[in-house]
Amino acid sequence: MHAIMAEDAMTVRMYYRSILEAAGFSVVEAINGLEAFEYAIAGERPPDLFLVDVNMPLMDGYTFLRKIRAEPGLCDVPAIVISTLREPRDEERAFEAGANLVLVKPVRPDALTVLVRVLCGSRAEQIS
């Protein structure tokens, strides 16, 4: 299973990388939505999961989600948004843009692990 993470804070990337790797994912890190999109398109096959921050330079999380949902090869890939924002409006925006799940920081490792397995579980079955 392969994940692409879009997050501009290095420490945050390291934290989520360790959780995802423990859950059996290989992880590619991107520092903004544009880089994540490029990795997704350039890859030989689509990733199994996107983990997306909202506030990133050059391309924020919402714009990234809208782009992947408009892209034939990527529109079905599960996407989890991890956000510091607590306004209900922002959660709505994330779902409208195409998130499958919105998690608010701090995210506990065990919670994220369970959620990615549930979200990507059926996909793993489809692929194998």
């Binding site: 903004n32 544009l34 999109f37 490029e38 050059l58």
Partner: protein, 310 residues
């Protein structure tokens, strides 16, 4: 490029892109340039050209700077900078300085998968709605063009493999900040190393073998490619090129710049393109940390960037 037999031993620690010393270069004494003076120089050079040198290049830059200072007869960086700022009105010393510090490593058909992409994907898309012989020429920019290998490679590749090459007019332009390499590009003379990737047929068709075992681009081809000096970070110099180009090859230039100048250079390229035009970066380069202006296009032979049509 000639063998590195003139490199003094202390430069061997430098990384890949090193320009070997030519016997004609003035070599300064082992000038110990104080750190603050060197920083001041870097700041000045960055302001003028947008180019930033990383720590590994420090010795190289110091040595070249010392060479220019010796040539000018100035004993300190301070007096050299003063000369540049107040006495070099025609900019000829600045040009010599830039020439001494910029590095040009190239050969024919380098990273040729992008030329494949040009012929098989980009040009068909650009000419899809153009009737043969009608409309403005397709304009392709090699930037920086260095000693001309990329620009001439484009010409040869189009003539050899683009089946519509006789149906559309094409202009190929090469630009570089270094006046010396522009002169070499116009002369069109190359050694065996530079032409090693070319198919024999192309070598025979477009080059003459000249005394000294070198190769000169045919006169017709030399006359077909337009070379000129240009500093991409100079807004006034870039202004006439707005909306002029269909394809820009900008390979391995942006890596020398820092964030601000890199962004400025990419914006200048964006403005120089026609809507729907394309830019090809170097193999390991990406727009993703520079600008979100362009659309990513994945073609069979390459991933390139496109200026949106509207």
């Amino acid at each position: 490029m000639p063998a590195n037999r003139f490199l003094p031993p202390r430069m061997s620690a430098l990384q890949s892109r090193v320009v070997p010393l030519r016997a004609c270069d003035a070599v300064g004494d082992d000038l110990q340039i104080p750190a603050t003076e060197f920083e001041r120089f870097q700041e000045y050079f960055y302001r003028k050209t947008g180019i930033v040198f990383g720590a590994p290049k420090r010795q190289f830059v110091e040595h070249r700077l010392a060479g220019r200072m010796a040539a000018r007869g100035t004993a300190s960086v301070r007096s050299y900078l003063a000369f540049l700022k107040f006495e070099d009105s025609a900019g000829s010393e600045l040009q010599l300085l830039v020439n001494a510090l910029t590095v040009n490593e190239t050969y024919f058909y380098r990273e040729e998968y992008q030329f494949d992409c040009l012929v098989s994907s980009i040009l068909p898309e650009l000419t899809a709605n153009r009737k043969p012989g009608e409309g403005p020429p397709i304009r392709i920019w090699s930037l920086p063009c260095s000693t001309g290998e990329e620009a001439y490679s484009l010409a040869i590749r189009l003539l050899e493999t683009w089946r519509d090459v006789d149906r559309h007019d094409v202009e190929i332009i090469g630009s570089d900040i270094d006046s010396r390499v522009i002169a070499q590009a116009r002369a069109g003379v190359y050694d065996d190393r530079a032409v090693k990737n070319l198919p024999d047929a192309a070598l025979r068709r477009y080059f003459e073998h000249i005394p000294g075992g070198r190769w000169r681009i045919s006169e017709t081809l030399r006359a077909s490619v337009d070379f000129g000096v240009l500093n991409i970070t100079d807004a006034a110099a870039m202004r006439p090129h707005r909306g002029a180009f269909d394809v820009v090859f900008c390979r391995n230039l942006l890596i020398y710049f820092d964030d601000v100048s890199r962004r400025a250079a990419v914006e200048a390229i964006y403005d120089a393109l026609r809507p729907g035009g394309f830019v090809c970066l170097g193999h390991s380069e990406s727009m993703s940390r520079i600008s979100s202006l362009f659309t990513l296009r994945k073609f069979p032979a390459a991933i390139v960037y496109q200026k949106p049509r509207s």
